[in-house]
Amino acid sequence: MSATMLLAQEAANHVSTGEAVSFWVLGPLALAGALGMIFAKNAVHSALFLVLTMLSLGVIYLVQQAPFLGFVQIIVYTGAIMMLFLFVLMLVGRDSSDSVVEVLRGQRLWATVLGVGLAVLVVAAVARALNDVRPVGLAGETANGGKGNVANIGRALFSDYVFPFELTSALLITAAVGAMVLGYVERHLRGRKTQKELVEARFRGEHDRPSPLPGPGVFATSNSVATPALLPDGSVAEESLSRLIDATASAKLDEERKAVAGTLPGPDARALVPGKEES
């Protein structure tokens, strides 16, 4: 029993050649993707480089005996989240790519210095703390043994971690509502004005005249826009004449206009002031 355990541990401690090979392939790929994301000028390229990194990480999870997480990584992250990123990028427009000029003085220099400092610090600390660590491995009953990785994770989630798990649902709901609130645009905010605002704008002089154009008038024979309005003295109100009709069919309307204006020969009972028809 103990011999097999020991053997299993030995196997767990020892990283297989296949894993080493995959690490040395995937690790540089992930790094290259990360660096590419930083240095790409175009945001879409950055997103694609990030996809590369995430895919590499997903495979690394698989290699690291975390199949469930590996697939979630690939499906949720690379598939959903990164596509969301690309979607927003397209929405915002590709012209919003970064300009090369750095506006904050010393920002890049200090970012580099501090980044290198952080890397050195963390790498040194990890190397020093874990140089002789002996990994237990995930062969145990409650890990990848027994019913397997996915089933064990599921059981842990719904037993030990049920409360945090439920909390995540609340989080996700909140996030969804938040996104909707942020994304909702009230129509009137950027659209039409209310009647009150229109009246005020008219009287402020933002329009040509405060009142609507005159209608056909009380004594009009028809309700058509083609029928000009009459002023109290019987003359035609110029403002009521439609420019469009004026321009297109003025010849046709002449007769009718004369009839309305009362300039046609013959008695016109509709004329208010018969004696003034010559005007």
Binding site: Q107, W110, L114, L118, L121, V122, A125
Partner: protein, 652 residues
């Protein structure tokens, strides 16, 4: 010497009888001043009469008091009259009371007596001035303050009167306010007096600090127990006060300028009355100056007196202005008094004696000068006078008697008082005696010289004014003054002749309770020899003056090509220049420097701190750029620091 202290300080009795009303002395003239000042134009008609009445009443009361005192035993003559507690503040209790003793009574008589004469004289002299009433108010104010000065029973009451006198003197000197020179002279007198007052004030502070009181009895009882340093510094500070009020070197420059006041009257106040306050102060402080520890202070007093004595004489020889010569003569005569009181027990009484006799003949001389100027269109330049003896016989005779008294003509007032001082100075013994005695003798000769010069140029010789016109274009019509002016002159002339002889016998004994017994010491020369020597030297001085000015024509214009000593004397022996160079200019520089320090240093510091804080916070504010990435950068820096600290704790 301790005996004198006890004598002066211990036997203070409560006043009773007539002396109970001694406050009348203060209140009478003060009442006159208040009525005249508040009454305004309504009192114009009778204002001068009220002024005279109050002062004469005070004089009469002073006489009654004097005679009631003389009837007492010598030991009972020093009396205190407590009026009220003035400033009761915790440990400091300043009482308002009067000290009635021979010294103060002597001064009361001098002040009210001379004051009465001045008042009477002023009626005539100021008759043309529409503000005569106000003038009398000021005179009354002066008399009241001066009486308070000499009657107060503590240094604070003395200081009160001291300042009141300074105020009255300022008002009187600046009487002709419209004229620049008068306003300047008043300001000068006021300021230079303040320098002295600072000394007096500091002396009073020292007394309070060391002895816990400023009353005469307490101070003089305890002064003997103080350290030498305290005694000497109080002595010298009191002297500084005396210098300011009495026009002693180095504060002598204001006195001649004070002649800018209404001609003889304020001149008389300053010459005969107020300037004696310094002598009074030192005589009053005799218990202090008599101490063996105060020898240094006494020496300083004598040095100051001697310097002033010679200074006044020398400048007096060169001036052509009638009043200014007399003013410098006053300066030098007060120098004599200061020398005398500086001699200690041997000289207090002599100083007071000379003060009194000088009060008589100098007052007479000034009134004579005023009478001459009154009759000569206010012409004060002696080179434009001359031959006035026939025109103004009374003035001439009274003036000549005063003149003879001043130069120490045998058996006139000055002979008794001045010779006695010279003798006492010589009797001081050793080098010191010879030096001060010699200076006093020299002063006597110089006095005779310049006074004779004055006499010749004004009253004798040819009438140089006949072909001249005064500044306002009028011809001179010299005439004798009216009786209100001549009567005081006659009275004073009688005093000049007789006062010395009468007083020299009585005064030392009379003053004994106040200033101690006169200790007569006999110097290397006997009294007779000193007298003869003094008279001879005075005669030589007068003879030289006759030789120089008595014969031949004197130019009307002032000779400009003169030797250096004359030029120096005409420039007040550079006293004003000295003051200006030593005090005024450094003061201006100091002020400028302080203004600079204030502007640049203090304000600079304050403004600098404010600007520094404002500027630095303005710069610090720029850290908040609003750029998220800057904030992220500092967050990353902070995180690295935290990680580094954690690792150091973990691995170190």
């Amino acid at each position: 010497m301790t005996g004198t202290i006890n004598l002066a300080a211990a036997e203070v009795q409560q006043a009773s009888g007539v002396a109970n009303a001694a406050w009348l002395l203060l209140v009478l003239p003060a009442f006159g001043a208040v009525v005249l000042l508040l009454g305004g134009r309504r009192t114009d008609k009778w204002g001068h009469l009220l002024g005279i009445a109050t002062v004469v009443a005070a004089f009469v009361y002073g006489l009654i008091l004097f005679f009631s005192t003389t009837s007492l035993d010598a030991a009972a003559r020093t009396r205190d009259l407590h009026l009220f507690d003035w400033i009761p503040v915790n440990s400091l209790n300043v009482e308002f009371g009067l000290r009635l003793d021979p010294l103060s009574l002597t001064f009361v008589l001098l002040i009210t007596g001379v004051g009465s004469l001045i008042h009477i004289y002023s009626v005539g002299y100021m008759s043309d001035d529409r503000d005569r009433r106000r003038f009398f108010a000021y005179l009354n104010l002066f008399v009241a303050a001066m009486l308070l000065l000499v009657l107060g029973n503590g240094f604070v009451t003395l200081y009160f009167g001291w300042e009141g006198v300074g105020l009255a003197s300022y008002l009187l000197i600046g009487w002709y306010q419209g004229k620049d020179f008068a306003a300047t002279a008043a300001k000068k007198a006021f300021l230079m007096n303040r320098v002295g007052d600072v000394g007096l004030a500091l002396a009073i502070f020292l007394m309070f600090k060391n002895m816990g009181s400023t009353q005469y009895d307490v101070v003089f009882a305890q002064i003997g127990h103080q350290s030498t340093g305290v005694i000497v510094s109080i002595g010298i500070l009191l002297l500084l006060g005396a210098c300011g009020k009495s026009g002693q070197f180095p504060l002598q420059a204001w006195l001649p300028d004070a002649m800018a006041g209404p001609t003889p009257v304020s001149a008389l106040i300053h010459a005969a009355t107020m300037v004696t306050a310094g002598v009074y102060l030192i005589a009053r402080s005799s218990p202090l100056y008599s101490l063996a520890q105060a020898a240094d202070a006494r020496l300083v007093v004598m040095i100051i007196g001697a310097i002033t004595l010679v200074l006044g004489c020398v400048i007096g020889c060169a001036y052509d202005d009638f009043k200014k010569v007399l003013a410098y003569s006053t300066v030098s005569q007060i120098g004599y008094m200061i020398v005398a009181v500086g001699l200690g027990p041997a000289g207090y009484a002599l100083g007071i004696l000379h003060l009194l006799t000088h009060g008589f003949f100098k007052a007479g001389l000034f009134l004579g000068a005023g009478s001459v100027m009154h009759g000569m269109n206010d012409e004060g330049d002696i080179r434009r006078l001359g031959g006035l003896a026939k025109k103004m016989p009374i003035t001439f005779v009274t003036w000549t008697l005063g003149y003879l008294a001043l130069i120490g003509f045998p058996f006139l007032s000055g002979y008794f008082s001045k010779d006695a001082i010279i003798e006492a100075a010589l009797a001081e013994g050793g080098t010191r005696g010879w030096v001060f005695g010699g200076i006093a003798l020299l002063g006597a000769g110089l006095t005779a010289f310049y006074m004779t010069r004055l006499l010749i140029l004004v009253f004798l010789g040819k009438p140089r004014w006949e072909n001249l016109k005064s500044a306002d274009g009028r011809a001179y019509h010299p005439h004798e003054s009216g009786p209100t002016m001549t009567v005081p002159m006659i009275i004073l002339a009688i005093g000049s002749v007789a006062a010395g002889g009468i007083l020299s016998g009585m005064l030392p004994e009379w003053l004994e309770p106040a200033v101690g017994k006169l200790q007569e010491e006999h110097g290397p020369l006997s009294a007779t020899v000193v007298s003869i020597l003094t008279v001879v030297i005075s005669a030589i001085g007068a003879g030289i003056a006759f030789a120089l000015f008595g014969r031949g024509e004197q130019p009307v214009a002032r000779p400009e090509r003169v030797s250096f000593p004359v030029r120096a004397a005409r420039a007040d022996l550079y006293g004003n220049h000295l003051n200006e160079a030593l005090f005024a200019r450094p003061g201006v520089w100091l002020t400028r420097f302080l203004v600079f320090v204030d502007n640049r240093g203090v304000d600079g510091l304050v403004n600098g701190i404010a600007a520094g804080l404002g500027g630095s916070s303005g710069r610090l504010r720029r850290l908040q750029t609003g750029f998220v990435r800057s904030y992220a950068l500092s967050m990353l820096g902070g995180s690295i620091l935290v990680i580094a600290a954690l690792l150091m704790v973990r691995f170190a």
